[in-house]
Amino acid sequence: MSLKIIVLAKQVPDTRNVGKDAMKEDGTINRAALPAIFNPEDLNALEQALRLKDTYPGTTVTLLTMGPGRAAEIIREGLYRGADGGYLLTDRAFAGADTLATSYALATAIKKIGDYDIIIGGRQAIDGDTAQVGPQVAEKLGLTQITYAEEILNVDEQSRRITVKRHIDGGVETVEGPLPIVITVNGSAAPCRPRNAKLVMKYKRALGAQEKNAAPACHPGVPEPSYPELYETRPYLNIPEWSVADVNGDLAQCGLSGSPTKVKAIQNIVFQAKESKTLTGSDQDVEDLIVELLANHTIG
């Protein structure tokens, strides 16, 4: 039995290593100061997909990511670990999307890919921590879902059913559901295998169209496309990019305009917190501190 697997992955700012320069003075996020990484739980999901590929020969693993041109890095990282290919969904019209508009965009791209048995991604991304995109993609595709997965135990060829061990509050549960299905993987699942040296050699010059067009100096770290003929003789080095039009997306459901939630206000915690304040045990000092913590919603 061979399976068609789509892995949903996101490039995220590394919010776990936030320094003092992570916030600009106006309170917005200084993205340049934060390294962009492969969302950790998406790596757990990739590993589950690659294990199925090991178990069921002929299985294909395709990555799907949404982001700016530099997010092609996510596809390359997947290829280095054993994925077969990937698509970068990239368009200015996708920008500013909340989880609903994001899941709409991903679902349209998945429909364009067309052939799939399992759609798998991390439970949540570390920049938003919402855990919403997986179930929303499932709903948009009319599929069932298994969230908080820790391990895929078995896929039964005859019944086309998958058995998954998943985390629940205060315990674990083993569930069985039909293919095709959407699965989101918890951080407690097995870590992803490292890059494979041979695959790094094979794919290190794989680039998305925007990366190829960009002047190399603007994108430190991205390999220079110094051998243009390579991309004709080795088509697997071209990372496909899809726009809204490519996936027949409805602009009204994409990006900011497709997002029912709006951000009314942002409060910056980093700046308030990282300078140490010394107080006395006086009534005035203690009351001021409590009032401050209540005002910034640290305590409710």
Binding site: I126, G128, H167, I168, V263, K264, N268, G281, V291
Partner: protein
């Protein structure tokens, strides 16, 4: 119509604490909005279930009782909410930010194209002026939550879409009985009208749940005590502060070894690792082994009479004073200033 709804989560036939906390909050929101509070309960063998929720001020309980509804699986519960909401058109829907709530909420919000905000730490009612569109919205739900790894706090609104959906973690809101004899209406629904047979596709084969004694690991606020607390009685003061703040109590190894606190509350390299948004270290010197278990806390307050305690180096607020003096003051001023 246009009421506040709370989805009540069940373990067996017991309503989860997080749902009772949300009913308490939902009652307050409903009072502010001058509307009713309604609860949804879906499971198996739910005779008399309304007795668990009514005392929190529920005006109407929607009961969905059928064999396939417990243990929870995604599709049947999602169909119940989606179809019920199409009829009832709630303005607000709250659910726990639990594994179940975070599985169910997004599915429902996607089907209804309504907005959903995960893991809110505060919910308020307020207005919003959209200057570009020249429109003012009254009585919106402010969904306040940390984002970006806890480095910012965002206030999210859904101006145009209903219901305004939010999930909230256990322990964030207070659970308070409004009136033990509160009388509301009970509506027993015909489950088959809401859930097509094809929804029962996922089978739960095996299930292990252990009731946790405390939730130190996931607590948003931790009050931790060290050897400086002096005694088991000293820790009683910490439990009192923790109760007020909806926090959990933790301890350093020195305090556990001295018998001030149970071993399962030990924080540090050989204990639990915690990442709360607020960590209040009381009489803890801050050995490196302890710091390893709490250094990722968002805001750290250190209360210590030793100005040179190592923990002060990583604290955001250092209170130079004795725990006996400072903690009762914190309790007092929290009671005075919180709503």
């Amino acid at each position: 119509m246009n009421n506040v709804f709370v989805y009540c989560e069940l373990e067996g036939t017991t309503v989860a604490d997080v749902s009772l906390e949300l009913l308490t909050k939902g009652r307050k929101l409903a009072n502010q909005l001058n509307c009713q509070l309604e609860a949804i309960v879906a499971g198996s063998g739910l005779e008399g279930i309304e007795k668990q929720v009514m005392p929190y001020g529920v005006d109407k309980v929607h009961v969905f009782d059928a064999p396939g509804l417990f243990p929870y699986t995604s599709l049947p519960h999602a169909s119940i909410l989606i179809n019920l909401f199409k009829e009832e058109k709630p303005q607000i829907c709250l659910m726990g930010a639990t594994v179940i709530g975070r599985d169910l909420g997004p599915r429902v919000s996607s089907a209804l194209t309504s907005g959903l905000t995960a893991d809110c730490t505060s919910l308020e009612i307020g207005s919003h002026e959209d200057k570009k569109a020249g429109k003012t919205y009254e009585n919106l739900l402010y969904q306040i939550r940390p984002a970006f790894g806890g480095n910012i706090v965002a206030t999210i609104i859904n101006p145009e879409h209903r219901p305004q959906m939010a999930t909230v973690r256990e322990g964030v809101m207070k659970k308070e009985i409004l009136d033990a004899n509160y009388q509301g209406e009970v509506v027993k629904h015909d489950v088959a009208k809401y859930v097509p047979e094809t929804d029962y596709v996922v089978k739960v084969i095996d299930r292990h749940v252990e009731k946790a004694k405390h939730n130190l690991k996931g607590a948003p606020i931790v009050v931790a005590g060290g050897y400086g607390m002096g005694s088991k009685e000293g820790f009683d003061m910490l439990f009192e502060l923790a109760k007020e703040l909806h926090a959990e109590v933790g301890a350093s190894r020195a305090a556990v070894d001295a018998g001030f606190c149970e071993h399962d509350r030990q924080i540090g390299q050989t204990g639990v690792t915690v990442r709360p948004k607020l960590y209040i270290a009381c009489g803890i010197s801050g050995q490196i082994q302890h710091i390893a278990g709490m250094q990722d806390a968002g805001i750290i307050i250190s209360i210590n009479n030793d100005e040179n305690a190592p923990i002060n180096a990583i604290a955001d607020y250092v209170i130079n004073g004795t725990v006996e003096e400072v903690i009762p003051k914190m309790i007092k001023y929290y009671k005075q200033n919180s709503k």
